[in-house]
Amino acid sequence: MAPRLPLRQQDDSLRAPDLAETTPQYKKAELIMVSRATQIKERALLLLFFLCAIVAVLGVVLIFAFVAVKAVPLFKEIGFLNFIAGTKWSVAKEQFGVVPFIVGSVVVTVGALAIGAPLAILTALFLSEVAGPKARAVIRPAVELLAGIPSVVYGFFGVTVVAPIISRVFGGAGFGPLTAWIVLSIMIVPTIAMLSEDALDSIPMGIREASFAMGATPWQTIYKVVLPAAKIGIIDAAILGMGRAIGETMAVLMIVGNAPQMFAGLTKPISTLTSQIVLGMGYSSGAFRTALFGMAALLFLISMALVLIVRLLSHTDREA
């Protein structure tokens, strides 16, 4: 890049400084020579960036604090063990055991991941390693569009298309884990596919070239060289997809059946943490409301754990 004049030698003080170039060596002294208006503008803009960045942090802290504070009476009103290890949920009888919902959330999430992750990773491999520019130009926007579909539309699709088919084949009303797996696995494909593709694209071309030079076929190159190299990135992608699945609410509420019972079969209605919170939030009070906040806190901890795992994995990846 051509060397630029330092700021102080430019006579046009209204010209916005190129932040990308000035920021690394940014010093107060360099600003002294520019006009006061520019100085104020600079400071104000930098402050604005900082405030924007802090909003996200504040948001997380405030929401977590809010949820936690609301959930604290749980220890007294319900009892922590009754809550976290209880298997009976009945608002009328003031029983607030959330094990059926934890099991439900896990069943729904793991199943969706088992179907959705291979689908998404193979899609990413196709886009990154196999597809020509034309195929890519069609498939990639389609996958991205999948991410933009509102979850209520997915839920509607599940209710009107998937559930009736499941009902005809397996009997029952068509609501349950199987229906949720099918719909959720499609929902998490874009998250996992896009992130996996990024991971694959970041593998240097030279590695592939070396593999081909050794006489490896494209498939051998993919599964012996490219996939292992991008492994951590793909696992990251899958975990983030898992986060999407476990937090998904609207679509799940519409198709999972919402029966507060323990998982008993793929076509038997069950309930998840998220769907139960939504069903109850509108009218709950007292210990019931506390239980819902407890469930929200639980979800928060689960997604925090998932993010933490991703951070740790990315870290080991960089070290290696």
């Binding site: 909003v55 948001g59 009328a92 209710v159 029952g172 009303a173 509420l253 919402n258 019972q261 009218y283």
Partner: protein, 273 residues
């Protein structure tokens, strides 16, 4: 996600401010009680306020017992609302009981189902999970698919008190958050059974007779049909003219044929007791 929550909060704030703006400088009528009556009372209140800007109606849903207490004992409300008739001790309060709508809950099945009648105790056993096949109640050999409503539903509350009593619901029931969804699922599931307000029965589903009595408007209005109840307004003798005007408006065709029917209830043709 964070941003979304923020904008929802902002929206609520705006809403709260605009609502509080409405009540300024006018006579307020406080209507509190049954959550089942709340939506009708609220719509009627808004319409009444439009026609009579000097009167504003504040509606809250606390439950029938709290509503009766608010109008009869603590006198914090001008009008109490209830979805049940008064108990003996509540009758001593000397409140005027004004039925504003009749509500019947129809037990509905798939139109292809050959069962036409259920005894009330069989219905209870079905929803408790003790009867699991239609052939146990004179139907075809077809497993029963239970469809229930979520616990916030007033229809579920009413069904519980009419049918279940202290018997717990089977946990195996599909729980759906709306009448439309209940109809939809029953219409496409052969062995399904569910319950909805009588006013929402359409061709997608077929309503069963209970104890041999069909859920006809006449049977519901006379409480002959076992799953029927009335919704009431309750007022003290010293009721203000503004509150009386509001009650008359709720009993007029504008509300009876509009919001009352829209909610799936049957209109009353008027009348205090």
């Amino acid at each position: 996600m964070v941003k979304m929550k923020g904008s929802i909060l902002a929206l609520l704030l705006v809403l709260a401010l605009s609502l509080s703006g409405c009540t300024r400088g006018s006579t307020g009528i406080v209507v509190s009680g049954s959550t089942t009556v709340e939506p009708i009372a609220e719509v009627a209140g808004e319409d009444y306020h439009k026609a009579h800007p000097e009167v504003s109606v504040l509606v809250s849903g606390l439950g029938s017992s709290a509503g009766i207490e608010a109008v009869g004992i603590t006198k914090t409300a001008d009008i109490g609302t209830s979805s049940r008739s008064l108990k003996d001790e509540e009758k001593k309060l000397g409140l005027t009981v004004i039925p504003i709508a009749h509500d019947g809950i129809a037990v509905v099945v798939n139109p292809a189902n050959t069962v036409t009648n259920l005894q009330l105790n069989d219905l209870r056993d079905i929803y408790a999970g003790k009867i699991t096949n239609w052939n146990e109640v004179g139907g075809p050999d077809e497993p029963i698919v239970l469809v229930n409503r979520d616990e916030s539903s007033g229809t579920r509350d009413a069904f519980t008190s009419f049918v279940m009593g202290d018997t717990p619901f089977s946990l195996d029931a599909v729980v759906l958050p709306g009448t439309g969804q209940v109809r939809e699922v029953i219409s496409r599931t052969k062995g399904a059974i569910g319950y909805i307000s009588e006013g929402f029965v359409n061709k997608q589903v077929r309503a069963l007779n209970i104890n041999g009595i069909p859920p006809s408007p006449a049977n519901i209005a006379s409480n002959k049909y076992p799953l029927s109840r009335s919704l009431y307004f309750l007022a003290r003798a010293d009721i203000s003219p503004e509150a009386q005007g509001y009650i008359d408006y709720v009993l007029s065709d504008a509300i009876q044929q509009g919001p009352v029917r829209d909610a799936g209830y049957l209109p009353v043709t008027g009348g205090e007791r």
